[in-house]
């Protein structure tokens, strides 16, 4: 395809200013938690304190007796089907006879003030009969079924090639803890009853799938459930599932009054799904000279109480279990199971993060067993264009895996730690000295699918209207695509500027009045909604040229658009003049190429649209006695195809690395008997400015042949192998004897110190 050059200022390829940035820095940008309606009541949720229990009775009479409390609703008040879910509708809007996790919603109340609503929720009396809780995923398949059909959500087998006898075999067992998306903006929304149905203003990653589920729960036709995206305070997968949406709509429709809901931080931990905790058993076989012969992997994902996206996460974990390496034979079994733990679902990286820690730990172990440099081993086995993945799919398009690794490996290493406590493990608590530290360097390589996979009919829709305003052509772009912070609104405007060569572009609020955009996840939205905006712009452009051709009496092919005018060899007519006879308004749907489902027996098939790759190098300092770790530097090299907005790409990389660092050394939802022990930012730690090291980015732009502008998705890859690289660096620092015990992330100071002590 021909590349569109950034002819217009702030077009494709420029680090254009975010259209929402001014409002955001002024404090004027309306996040869902800022929404206000003069007549609104506040909703609050009554949640289960038990991981598994029979609900004997729910009595809201004491709550309703409080002046100012207007509703107390239970499952019986759900007018439609009391079930929702992204892949399988197995989750009740409000619990019926059974609760399956701590925090499951049982009832909702509405009152005049948020404080009163919380008090009312506390007065709802629920009688429970506790049942035995299944909290160990290893026991799920032998335990009584939590759902009809048993406790297996999905088992994906991948079989390819024959396992050969290997010179060297390494085995390992690895574990990944439960990570939280920890977006800062709490779940919140405002539901407003309308003449027909309800209008909902909410923060979500996918308006139309919310609409679809809500229509079913509320027993309303879809067109009577109208959603508008409000400001979204981060998402990272945690806003794919419904949270407050159905509850607020139920209350608003019951009261005939607007209802706002907004969680506090503790409730937010119960209010959204988390990253699947994983247990992985691996066996790698290789030749003496370091060629992989086979990989066996057995992966167990704790899906928690409801299905959410567990089936797709299982698919991803299985597909990428061997990493970006050529492996002639694979035997992969990946299972997700129901338990009475909090539900797990989408989080940035979506199954590929967990297995990356597994396959990269194995590569290091194999390198050690072979006496080979870990970079050399990876280079020797890295996939490239034309390679075959574990699922039998050929890698099409750029696959510069070896190049990415070389780039991070060839960088100079940072200098030794200065004796400034702010730069040492433990920071200003001043718990160590530079001369007590050991330094380590580790590497990670990763691969993940971009866009939806396995035959899903994925598309984006965009409407672009070009009209004249004060003598100037203005483009108006309307999609339902969710801006969650990533900068999609900027990219949409850039594409319109480039394709229509206009300076003024307005991005309308995302809502369900325009066609489905699909989800802001799977690193797909710039590709899909960007592609749709481009297609709509091209349609607008064609209509403009037709109009100009008629007016100028020349064939459309002889005309060019630029500088606010359509020009022929002889004459020129301004866009504003052309638009005087009416707006040009076009809607386009954009699809990526067809994919196929994986074979249920062998797991073979061309299931993915595209693969994206990243390489990380981490440098750490460790105090071996205390186990404290400081990440000194992270380098990341990533192929982005084409950087539509370079500053936004860098922002995605920095942010992804930070979340990877969190998973590597500090972030874990700790559970006891299914209960979250640390549902606050006091106890669930995410990286601060003191935890983040300088990050060094290396962005490759190798255009893809099959995507708009040659781009590929950039959101997830920078996270994928960051934890694996940091873990490898910690192991490198403490030495091989202690490293063997470091098989779990996050690698806490306690785990590191214990491993050193026991070595």
């Amino acid at each position: 395809m021909t590349m569109t050059q950034p002819l217009t200022a702030d077009g494709v390829g420029a680090s254009a200013r975010r259209p929402d940035a001014d409002a955001k820095v002024r404090g004027d940008f309306a996040y869902s938690s800022d929404l206000w309606h003069d007549a609104m009541a506040w909703g609050a949720t009554v949640r289960s304190p038990h991981p598994h229990a029979r609900v004997v009775s729910v009595d809201a009479s004491a709550a309703l007796a409080l002046p100012g409390v207007h509703a107390g609703l239970t499952a019986a008040d759900v007018p439609g089907v009391n079930r929702y879910g992204l892949e399988k509708r197995d989750q009740p809007v409000l619990a019926e006879d059974v609760v399956r996790y701590v925090g499951e919603p049982v009832a909702v109340v509405a009152a005049d003030t948020p404080e009163l609503a919380r008090r009312a929720a506390g007065l709802v009396e629920v009688a429970y009969e506790p049942l035995p809780a299944l909290t160990d995923p290893e026991r799920a398949l032998e335990s009584p079924a939590l759902h009809e059909g048993g406790n297996l959500v999905r088992h994906l087998r991948i079989r390819r090639g024959a396992l050969a006898r290997a010179d060297v075999v390494v085995t390992g067992e690895y574990e990944v803890g439960m990570q939280d998306q920890a977006f800062l903006g709490p779940e919140s929304c405002l539901a407003v009853p309308a003449e027909e149905g309800v209008e909902l203003y909410c923060s979500t990653q996918w308006l139309h799938i919310d609409q679809d589920q809500l229509a079913g729960c509320l027993a309303l036709p879809k067109e009577h459930v109208r959603l508008t995206l409000s400001g979204v305070g981060g998402a990272f997968g945690g806003r794919e599932d419904l949270s407050v949406q159905a509850h607020a709509c139920l209350l608003a429709l019951r009261l005939g009054r607007p209802v706002k809901m907004s969680y506090g931080r503790e409730e937010s931990f119960a209010g959204h799904v988390h990253r699947h905790p994983a247990r992985m058993r691996y066996e790698h076989g290789a030749t003496r000279d370091g060629r992989l012969l086979y990989v066996k992997a057995d992966i167990l994902l704790d899906g928690g109480a409801y299905a959410s996206t567990s089936a797709a996460v299982t698919g991803n974990a299985a597909c990428f279990a061997t990493g970006p390496y050529e492996v002639p034979a694979v035997e992969i079994d990946c299972r997700s199971v129901y338990t009475n733990n909090p539900p797990a679902g989408a989080m940035r990286g979506f199954g590929a993060v967990q297995v990356c820690f597994g396959h990269e730990s194995q590569m290091d172990k194999l390198a050690a067993a072979l006496g080979m440099d870990p970079v050399e081993l990876r280079l020797r086995n890295a996939v490239s264009t034309g390679s075959t993945m574990a699922t039998g799919q050929r890698v099409e398009g750029p696959a510069p895996v070896a190049e990415l690794l070389r780039r991070v490996a060839d960088r100079p290493l940072p200098p030794p730690a200065a004796d400034d406590p702010r730069l040492l493990p433990g920071g200003t608590s001043n718990s160590t000295r530079a001369d007590r530290l050991v330094r380590g360097v580790g590497y990670g390589l990763s691969v993940k699918n971009i866009c939806k996979s396995a035959g899903y009919d994925d598309y984006g829709t965009a409407r672009v209207r070009l009209f004249a305003h004060e003598g100037e052509a203005v483009a108006e772009v309307h999609t339902a695509a969710a801006e969650v912070g990533q900068g999609l609104v900027t990219v949409q405007a850039q594409i319109a500027r480039t394709e229509l060569e206009v300076a003024r572009v307005t991005i309308l609020p995302a809502d369900t009045e325009v066609g489905d955009a699909g989800t802001s996840s799977a690193s797909r939205q710039t590709w899909m909604s960007g592609g749709a905006v481009r297609a709509a712009c091209l349609a607008v452009r064609a209509r403009l040229l037709e109009r100009a051709a008629a007016l100028l009496g020349e064939p459309a092919g002889a005309l060019t658009i630029g500088g606010g005018a359509v020009t022929s060899s002889a004459r020129s007519i301004t866009l504003a003049e052309l638009l005087a006879e009416g707006d040009v308004d076009e809607t386009a749907v954009f699809r990526h190429r067809f994919t196929e489902a994986l074979d249920p027996e062998t797991g073979q098939g061309d299931a993915h649209v595209a693969y994206a790759f990243a390489a990380h190098r981490a440098v750490v300092d460790v105090d071996p006695e205390l186990g404290s770790v400081r990440v000194v530097e992270i380098a990341c090299a990533q192929d982005v195809g084409r950087a539509i907005n370079p500053v936004a790409v860098e922002g995605q990389m920095h942010g992804g690395i930070a979340q990877g660092l969190g998973l590597a050394v500090m972030e874990e939802i700790r559970l006891r008997d299914g209960r979250i022990l640390n549902p606050s930012f006091t106890d669930y730690l995410i990286p601060t400015t003191m935890d983040m090291p300088p990050t060094v980015l290396d962005i490759l732009e190798l255009p893809r042949p099959d995507s708009p502008y040659g781009l590929t998705g950039v959101g997830e890859p920078p996270l994928l192998s960051a934890p694996a690289a940091i873990a490898a660096a910690i192991r490198d620092a403490v030495g091989p004897a202690a490293a063997a015990a470091l098989d779990r992330i996050p690698m806490t100071p306690e785990a590191v110190a214990t491993a050193v002590l026991d070595a």
Binding site: S15, Y31, S33, G233, R422, Q486, F681, T689
Partner: protein, 138 residues
């Protein structure tokens, strides 16, 4: 006003200034940082009654009419704003840092902003914004 209400609640729900944000409401994230008589505080940790008679400046008070404050402009230009939920608190914290020190080095910047969590940016562009604003104000 109810007893026990926080300054943050007062600002957001009663005064109509929702710019200060409610991400953790226990003083860990800094999203609600405001000036209270010239000192940056987490508005969620201040009881509304404690602010009686005090001057409060929130993110809404940083710009001069249509003109962004240089710190705000630097955040926009540097790409320090993604979802933007942490931004109001960070702007106040950076505003305060640069008022105290017009040429902070990187460890100083990191330390000054250690009480402000950001989940999107990994902080790098925020540091860029601080340096950009500092350079322009000198």
């Amino acid at each position: 006003m109810e007893a026990g209400e926080s300054l943050l609640f007062l600002l957001r729900e009663r005064v109509g200034l929702p710019g200060s944000k409610n991400a953790c409401e226990q003083g860990e994230c800094g999203s609600c940082t405001v000036y209270l008589d010239g000192t940056p505080v987490c508005a969620c940790l201040v009881a509304a009654g404690q602010a009686q008679g005090c001057e409060v400046v929130t993110v809404e008070g940083l710009a001069d009419g249509d003109e962004l404050h240089p710190v705000q402009e630097a955040f926009v230009e540097a790409g320090a704003v993604q979802c933007g939920f942490c931004t109001p608190g960070l702007l106040v914290a950076v505003h305060d840092l640069l008022a105290r020190c017009d040429d902070p080095d990187e460890p100083q910047i990191r330390e000054a902003l250690a009480g402000n969590l950001c989940r999107c940016t990994g902080y790098e562009k925020i540091f860029d914004a601080v340096r950009l604003a500092a350079g322009r104000s000198r």
